[in-house]
Symmetry: D2
Subunit: 182 residues, 4 copies
């Protein structure tokens, strides 16, 4: 069976997240790789991010990581990565869109407007979302809520990286079954 | 000078908005056209929406309307429209992205996950946003707030279609000046 | 009935086309507008193009023109234009894609790799193509040919702007009927 | 150093290519994987293709393969693949665009309008192209030519899979150096 593709989304470095959030994001990546998942992350060209921290965590156990970036070239900040896909679409809706469609489930931690866009896109595309609580941002605000009256899919909350990853894999499995994706 | 391109975003019909909201959306389109603006709206292929209602309002005074749709063909529900641009990008992040980039300012009314995506994209692209309050949804929730700690741009609130359109044009003018767009 | 959306594609100024080609492109735009069509063109941010020349032609008779550009902002070279849609997709495949999907028929004149991409995309999307012959480039090379063994649609050749526009409108009408686009 | 990402592009099964072409495409994938490259291919949802045959070749030696598909879901024909990225963009310009931007070099074999689009996009994005000759289609037609008077990059011809892959890796290396991609 094809490996699960799990995304980790979260604040970029210009939002000045805490060291604790970075550690939790790294741990998410580590756990995803350890369970045999492929990590998808939003690769930045200018600064670090919680999404990129997850890539570093995954590489500690030699997991496969895929960075989705914007623009035309593969010039991303993180160098230890397996695959880079530039999607020729600007940051801010476009890149986020390709990034989310590549995921079987998404874990959010903290997060500003980029993470919000990603979660809204995931909701619209009916892709499972898990919010790791305790680090503020949109992940905390949206945990346990629906995005609108369609009640399509609730953002599932988790209180530890371990729980978040466990739930993400379980939801990814259900997602594949729902859409009959091998 | 090139006319201002103003977008109206809001709930789609499957979210069962009130007749009042539809009237307000139509009035937004009417006022935008009357002031000489070009209306941009998200053209749907399956049902009506507040965004499409704005198109109907604009056509009452023969304004130019541009429907941005998804997929490959120009098969949209609304027939009285000037220009249709299919962007080959799925609904849910992709189409919304092209739609927002086309706007010099955006007015939101009510709105579910689609409107949320559009506003988040507008924030990321630094495009002015006005929320017409009083109809629930994300427009009400986000009025007078920033999307994150970057405090890039606040969602300006308005209490009537008249006020919303007036503010949108004023902000569109400033937006063009800021980015030196003729 | 919604107006036909006709695109004119051709070389950009860095390909140093002849004054004659520019005049022919302007005439194409002029004739499209005169027949009541909406002109779609690829709006550039750095230099002139035959596509932009068509926009100038259309504006002589006050036709509606829509410039599809790449990137995030509406900063295009041509200032006399009605609608500008930045599609957040780089030049080179992305922008060309949105541009072509907006057309009910496409007229090509001369043209380098950009025009080639646009025609190949039109073929793949089954959108009618007319090549105005006599100005070299890919329009001349592809006139009266199919793109592959699928024989989906031949690039129709024309020997004057008048003939090209006449054929383009006739084909646009058939295209709309084929896909039941109102 | 990050592994080279090499794409193999070619006819889809509805173009009825010869068994020989399929074998050559498989061999391309095999050789790319053997040299430690990551194979990028255009993953189809409806039928086989030379691009997909290359994926099968790469999996024989357990290479990493990345399928770029269109639409919203990861429902592709080939099941033995490592990573699938749906880009929410229709086939015909959009998907091809993301697919090409992901490559450090592209090898074409035979090929109809899809392959033509891909090569034209590669030329526009200045990505190295190799044409494996002897199987007809656009690869044969474009071998040893430039796409336009800009003479940006010639389609390098190769007479065997071995030569094609050797040249592709050498060109990929130069491409990374040119754009300073780690």
């Amino acid at each position: 069976m094809r490996k699960f593709q799990i995304g980790v989304m979260g604040s970029a470095a210009d939002l000045k997240y805490a060291k604790d959030a970075e550690k939790a994001a790294e741990r998410l990546g580590y756990l995803i790789a350890k369970k045999g998942g492929i990590l998808l992350f939003g690769a930045e060209k200018d600064y670090d991010s919680l999404s990129t921290a997850a890539c570093r965590g995954a590489k500690k156990v030699d997991g496969i990581t895929v960075g989705i970036t914007y623009g035309k070239r593969k010039d991303i900040v993180e160098k230890d990565v397996d695959v880079v896909i530039p999607c020729g679409l600007d940051r801010g809706g476009g890149r986020e869109f390709v990034l989310i469609l590549g995921c079987d489930a998404v874990i959010a931690i903290s997060g500003g407007s980029g993470t919000l866009t990603e979660l809204a896109v995931a909701y619209q595309a009916d892709i499972p979302m898990v919010a790791l609580k305790g680090f503020g941002g949109w992940a905390d605000k949206l945990a346990d809520t629906y995005f609108d009256g369609r009640n399509r899919r609730k953002v599932i909350s988790a209180s530890s990286p371990e729980e978040a990853v466990k739930v993400a894999f379980a939801e990814a499995k259900k997602y594949r079954e729902k859409y009959e994706l091998a």
